[in-house]
Amino acid sequence: MRIPCPYCGERDAHEFAYLGDATLTRPDPAAAEAEQAFHDYVYLRDNPAGAHEEWWYHANGCRQWLRVARDTRTHAISGAVAARVAGEPA
């Protein structure tokens, strides 16, 4: 796979480390059901066939965390944005 890094250009996936679902938000630790929410945040994952937004870290490049839009069926990558930049990857 080739990932279009917004800083480095299109680079081979070998340069990146994968984390997973980029749509999760770290729960509020002060909320009433925090423990359950953290359990879900840490352990529960969907396994979609199709569009997936996921975190990739450009470990051997700019060291930026990227939000990447990938189709899990075809590995087609339609875009990537840096985590700090607002907006959707594709």
């Binding site: 796979m1 080739r2 729960p27 630790p29 990558i77 840096a82 985590a83």
Partner: protein, 990 residues
């Protein structure tokens, strides 16, 4: 040397008769010419028997002239370079080539195991699953060794491969796969448009079918036309022509795998050249122009040496000027094969008989054949063959059967487009009734197919299609493609009547020659219910091994379809997966082998440590000094104990540059550290360092280390050596994803700073002589961290930290001064007996002191388990806090961190031993934890240990068993506090 070449034509062909090449096969020496393959040179010398078959040891000859070869597999070279299962048909001849036949004993001509032929009834489809089922114990001891000896292919070299393999990456706009008529035109169309083109072809001579074509193209002989096209392509600045290069796989995002055989055509690689090079080609578009593979007709005795694909006969005659035989017959179901034979006949090959299953064949063909004195039998089938190598055929016609003398039988059942690469993303080929063949279905993105690979047959049509597809690929990328003058070649109409299998023929009729799968085996699979293509393949092994069923898949499928009564498209096709042709393990490994498997990281003081006589050990990617033996020391334990004693009594130094070092700057670093460490950092004063523990979000300990505040907005963190990259990645995630609002910038400075730990009661005396400023207890108290200079002006960071439990410092200087600092410290410490120590002594001292390390930070321990429970702040949130409070992680029965001493001080402790209550049986239910770290303490004079045991801190003084079934040892130990030396910390504060 035999000089016969008796089957060589005196003129013609793409060989250089002025450049003879000597080679040997099974010890006999022969001569071929430059431009030969091993197969063409063997045929030129009349060698027709080249191997024994996989299961039945039947004599086999050369069947094809390309990558599809199922039979002519040989061992190439000898000794460490011996390479089994090399296809003679694609092995480029070189002077001195050595080849040997495979799978025969004692010799190729007389093979004792050809007895297997008489066992054929028992070795049929699925025999592995039926014959050797009982008794089960016999499989490993008896059946498998016998089968392995009897069945099989070549022998791999037993020595290490002496050659090098490389990996390389290339980028292009258009990758063209195959340099036949379609590929050449596609490359030219895209190349003239200015696109960056890579044209890859597996042959050593680009041109594909043009090199075996008898007719003219553009008023030139076809091979000369091909050569001109190649010359122009090579002259174009944006085009790269790669010969001897097989594109073997299509991967994601337009990435293609290719294998370049750089030196396979040489006795051994030239100096500094690899044998093979593995290419990763990133192409915006690709054109597959891989051509098509001829398929045989299946009939009894169709594996006899002398039976050969019709196209192969044509190639040997036209390209190599070799006559595969003196009495040639053709057995076919299509017009193309007739034309191939007529052309071969015109070139001097004695074609005597043409047998066609069709009752009606175009008059122009039959007339042309008869005019040449060729006998024509239509509506006829070959039902048997005779001879060790072929001497005759039995043919059934409408009027009965007759025997025909022939030493070569050309066979053609039609052509199958080489759709393999189009399937690599899961696309399924589609059956095209008009040509009775599978054509590409859905292709990988960016890949289009041209010429025979998509079922466009005929030279003229291939040239036009190649030009069109090449232009289309370039246009899609925005290039303007100039008009291309494509030579006109009149193609004869395509005429073929599907025909697969001569039923009722005599003798074994092979569908898959490489795996010895017969038409009868397909029938057995059908009878036993293994009817889906995938089951047929696995049950009979049809289509497996080096040729991947190139000449057998479609035929096997067609026979199954006729048995089930379903159509071929209903029966399906097997999916082709990478690699298209075999790729050696050496090429996949590249330079990553042995010591070069991965880069080695050296500490800044590596050379200094070597000069001190250090023994080194790999720790992750690092090579670190393990200990520094001196003359007269009998083992490592004596050396390590001496190092430890010297540090505790005087002073020692060790390179700790391998720790991860992270520079943190910004207004919010304190707040950030508060969120990633369990303990508080916001109140850390400038000039101070603090020990911290960080958790994963699931509540387990991730890492520990110290962070120092050098300036109000400038901190530096250390991590463990092993977790340096992981912690850095985690911190970047926290900053970029979780809390982008924090004003913090991170930078890894592990490589930039050399760091040396100085420990022992005389450490300050030594440091004072090296540091430029005041290092007194007042200026640099315990856990102090200051910036300054050492050695007369070298920028340095001084930390007062202790891992050993002694008065200790860590001195960081820019990496290039690391070795100089070590030398300066050694000089300054000479009068105090300063001792360099390695990571073994470091480990002993941290166990004596009771510090946790990698063995305890196992990813399965909580802060509470390790005794850091009270460090955890309750006034803030931090990563892992919420889930660390889960009942399972706060269970008071969890194994917790304590020390252990042997009740009998003469006994040795073992890491990994499990703790059991005294008298309890060694069961999982009684397991209370395990020993994580052990060391011999020279300070105490006996072994000590650290470990995790249920409710450990509440059980100090209790005795338990340390049970080690792996080593068969068991000893009684006493639980103690995890600090064997100076538990009050007087020494390190002194």
């Amino acid at each position: 040397m035999s000089t016969s070449n008796r089957n060589r034509l005196t003129a013609g062909g793409l060989i250089d008769r002025a450049r003879p090449l000597g080679f040997s096969f099974d010890g006999t020496r022969y001569r071929g010419y430059e431009g030969d393959t091993l197969a063409s040179a063997l045929l030129a010398n009349g060698v027709r028997l080249v191997g024994r078959s996989f299961k039945y040891h039947r004599p086999r000859g050369i069947f094809s002239a390309g990558a599809e070869e199922p039979n002519a597999l040989v061992e190439l070279r000898s000794g460490a370079r011996r390479e089994p299962n090399s296809r003679a048909t694609v092995t480029e001849l070189y002077d001195g080539l050595e080849a040997a036949s495979q799978n025969r004993w004692p010799s190729l001509a007389v093979d004792a195991l050809s007895l297997n032929r008489f066992l054929q009834p028992f070795l049929g489809a699925g025999f592995y699953y039926k014959t050797f089922m009982w008794p089960a114990a016999f499989w490993e001891k008896l059946y498998e060794p016998i089968i392995r000896r009897a069945a099989g292919l070549g022998r791999a070299a037993e020595e290490a491969d002496p050659d090098h393999y490389e990996k390389a990456t290339a980028f292009c706009d258009v990758l063209v796969i195959g340099a036949g008529p379609a590929g050449l035109m596609a490359a030219l169309a895209a190349g003239r448009a200015g696109a960056r083109v890579i044209l890859a072809d597996e042959d050593f001579l680009p041109g594909g079918g043009l090199n075996a074509e008898a007719g003219d193209v553009g008023r030139k002989p076809a091979p000369a036309f091909a050569a001109e096209m190649v010359a122009e392509l090579m002259s174009l600045p944006t085009v790269r022509v790669m010969t001897r290069t097989s594109v073997f796989g299509v991967y994601d995002s337009g990435t293609y795998g290719a294998l370049e055989r750089v030196s396979d055509h040489l006795p051994e690689p030239a100096p500094f050249q690899p044998r093979q090079r593995l290419w990763r080609i990133i192409a915006r578009r690709a054109v597959l122009a891989a051509g098509a593979t001829e398929r045989p007709i299946v009939f009894g005795g169709n594996d006899r040496p002398g039976v050969m694909l019709a196209g192969a006969v044509g190639t040997y005659v036209q390209r190599h000027a070799v006559l595969p035989g003196q009495k040639i017959a053709l057995f076919a179901n299509n017009d193309g094969a007739w034309r191939e034979m007529l052309a071969a006949h015109a070139a001097g090959a004695p074609v005597e008989t043409i047998i066609d299953v069709r009752t009606e064949v175009a008059a122009d063909l039959t007339q042309a054949a008869r005019a040449e004195g060729i006998r024509v039998l239509t509506g006829a089938q070959v039902i048997a063959t005779a001879g060790k190598t072929l001497t005759g055929l039995t043919v059934a016609t409408a009027s009965g059967t007759e025997r025909i003398a022939a030493d070569t039988l050309a066979v053609s059942g039609g052509w199958s487009p080489s759709v393999h690469l189009t399937c690599h993303h899961g696309g399924k080929p589609r059956w095209e009734e008009a040509i009775a063949a599978f054509v590409p279905g859905t292709c990988p993105p960016g890949l289009s197919v041209a010429g025979a690979a998509k079922g466009v047959f005929g030279l003229g049509a291939c040239l036009k299609d190649g030009a069109a597809i090449g232009a289309e690929a370039a246009q899609a990328l925005g290039f303007t493609v100039p008009a291309l003058d494509v030579p006109d070649v009149a193609d004869a109409p395509f005429a073929l009547t599907p025909f697969w299998h001569v039923e009722g023929s005599k003798g074994a009729a092979f569908v898959d020659l490489q795996n010895d799968v017969t038409a009868k085996d397909v029938g057995i699979a059908h009878k036993e219910g293994f009817r889906s293509v995938e089951l047929l393949k696995r049950y009979t092994t049809l289509g497996m091994a080096t040729d991947q069923g190139r000449t057998s898949n479609v035929t096997g499928l067609a026979i199954m379809a006729s048995l089930t009564g379903a159509s071929i498209p209903e029966t399906g096709t097997t999916i082709f997966r990478p690699p298209y042709t075999p790729v050696s393990m050496g090429a996949l490994a590249g330079h990553h082998r042995g010591k070069d498997f991965r880069p080695v990281r050296l500490t800044p003081t590596h050379e200094w440590a070597r000069a001190q006589g250090a023994v080194f050990i790999e720790t992750g990617a690092w090579l670190r000094a393990q200990y520094f033996p001196r003359n007269g020391e009998k083992d490592w334990l004596e050396t390590v104990s001496r190092e430890v004693t010297s540090v505790r009594a005087g002073v020692g130094l060790i390179d700790v540059s391998t720790f991860g070092k992270i520079d943190l700057q910004g207004r919010d670093v304190g707040a950030f550290l508060d969120r990633v460490y369990i303990n508080g950092f916001a109140a850390l004063a400038v000039g101070k360092a603090r020990y911290g523990v960080m958790l994963r979000e699931d509540g387990m300990v991730m890492d520990d280390g110290t962070t120092a505040r050098l300036a109000p907005e400038h901190y530096v963190m250390t991590t463990t050596t092993a977790n340096a990259a992981k912690v850095y990645q985690h911190l970047e995630f926290c900053l970029q994803v979780l809390w982008p609002e924090l004003d913090v910038a991170l930078s890894s400075v592990s490589e930039q700073w050399a760091q040396i730990a100085l420990a022992g009661p005389r450490a300050r005396d030594v440091l004072a002589r090296v540091a430029d400023g005041d290092v007194s207890n007042a200026a640099l108290p315990f856990m102090g961290a200051i910036e300054g200079t050492v050695m007369g002006g070298v920028k340095a960071r001084l930390f007062r930290l202790s891992f050993s439990g002694e008065l200790g410092y860590e001195i960081a200087v820019p990496a290039r001064f690391g070795a100089a600092l070590a030398q300066a410290l050694m000089q300054a410490g000479e009068e105090f007996g300063i001792t360099p120590y390695g990571i073994e002594a470091l480990g002993v001292m941290r166990i004596e002191k009771g510090h946790v390390s990698g063995n305890e930070l196992s990813g399965q321990t909580t802060a509470g388990d390790l005794g850091f429970g009270r460090m955890a702040s309750t006034k803030k949130d931090y990563i892992g806090r919420t889930l660390a409070a889960r009942p399972g992680l706060t269970d008071p029965d969890r194994p917790a961190f304590v020390g252990f001493r042997p009740v009998d001080p003469s006994r040795r402790l073992r890491a990994g031993a499990h703790f059991l209550p005294l008298g309890a049986a060694p069961t999982m239910a009684n397991d209370q934890g395990y020993m994580t770290s052990v060391a011999y303490s020279p300070h105490l004079g006996h072994w000590i240990g650290l470990g995790l045991i249920t409710r450990g801190p509440e059980r100090l003084g209790e005795r338990v068993r340390a049970y080690d079934p792996v080593r068969g040892e068991e000893i009684e130990v006493e639980i103690c506090a995890p600090g064997f030396i100076d538990p009050e910390g007087v020494r390190l504060r002194g």
